[in-house]
Symmetry: C2
Subunit: 152 residues, 2 copies
């Protein structure tokens, strides 16, 4: 479990190197990582290019199915409502996430997608995996942004 979250974290580091918000994800099927992705919103000029969306797309293509029922998704940040609903559509088996996101999260916060009566698939959810590391990379990223943008 921790190995896969470390792999997701390495994806977050790749996002950071591209000056993207550092969130990374991997998809695991039968013990193997079958897809890796990180946030690419700015590079792709695509507001939907979150790590989870991209890793689901890559995983579905790799397995040639829209249902990832035997797959577990690891992501460094609590998914937003968009990604949470995509995880439900893809019928992901288990969701592991790193940092909690009180402002933008859609699992334990905000829309709480999996708690909605109309949600047709609810994965097992484990939050706070490798939390400190996953949280720190985001805090430092935004701290640097503020420093860079501060008045001289």
């Amino acid at each position: 479990m921790s190995t896969s979250m470390h792999a997701a974290f390495r994806q977050a580091e790749k996002a950071k190197a591209l000056d993207e918000v550092p969130v990374g994800a991997v998809l695991v099927c039968d013990g193997d990582i079958i897809a890796r992705a990180h946030n690419l919103v700015m590079m792709r000029k695509d507001p939907t290019a979150h790590a989870e969306i991209l890793v689901i797309q890559e995983g579905a293509l790799a397995l040639d199915t829209i249902f990832l029922s035997n797959c577990d998704l690891y992501v460094t940040l609590e998914p937003c409502a968009m990604c949470a609903q995509a995880i439900a559509f893809a019928r992901v088996r288990r969701l592991y996430f790193g940092a909690y996101d009180p402002k933008g999260g859609g699992i334990d916060h905000g829309a709480r997608i999996f708690s909605q009566k109309t949600c047709h698939h609810i994965p097992e959810v484990y939050g706070g995996i490798l939390e400190s590391k996953c949280s720190s990379i985001l805090i430092n990223f935004f701290k640097n942004k503020r420093t860079l943008n501060a008045p001289k």
Copy 2:
């Protein structure tokens, strides 16, 4: 307004011709349709390939920005939570939708994305545009599916 929803409906018809769930969308900027898309989940083997996601991606690429603040989105069905959150991320100005979706919708039903305190952008929303037509194409699509799958 009605012209744009008719254009979205023609996209839904294209989806139907491909045996995809018939939902279509267009994105309008300064009076011009700058992007057209329809549901492509099965063809692309992509559980996130809803009409709204695709039309936002196409529109953002066309305008070379992730913020579609001057754009209005027309879609034949009430967006789900995934698409509603994508619409918020893209800062779409106005959302017009056709049929209401009590089971899968995320605007007036379910997660009610734009009513969440954490939602950082709320478009103007107008539901029920060309409702009967947009609803009928979906009802007939699923009726035919059931007939085809009924025991002989």
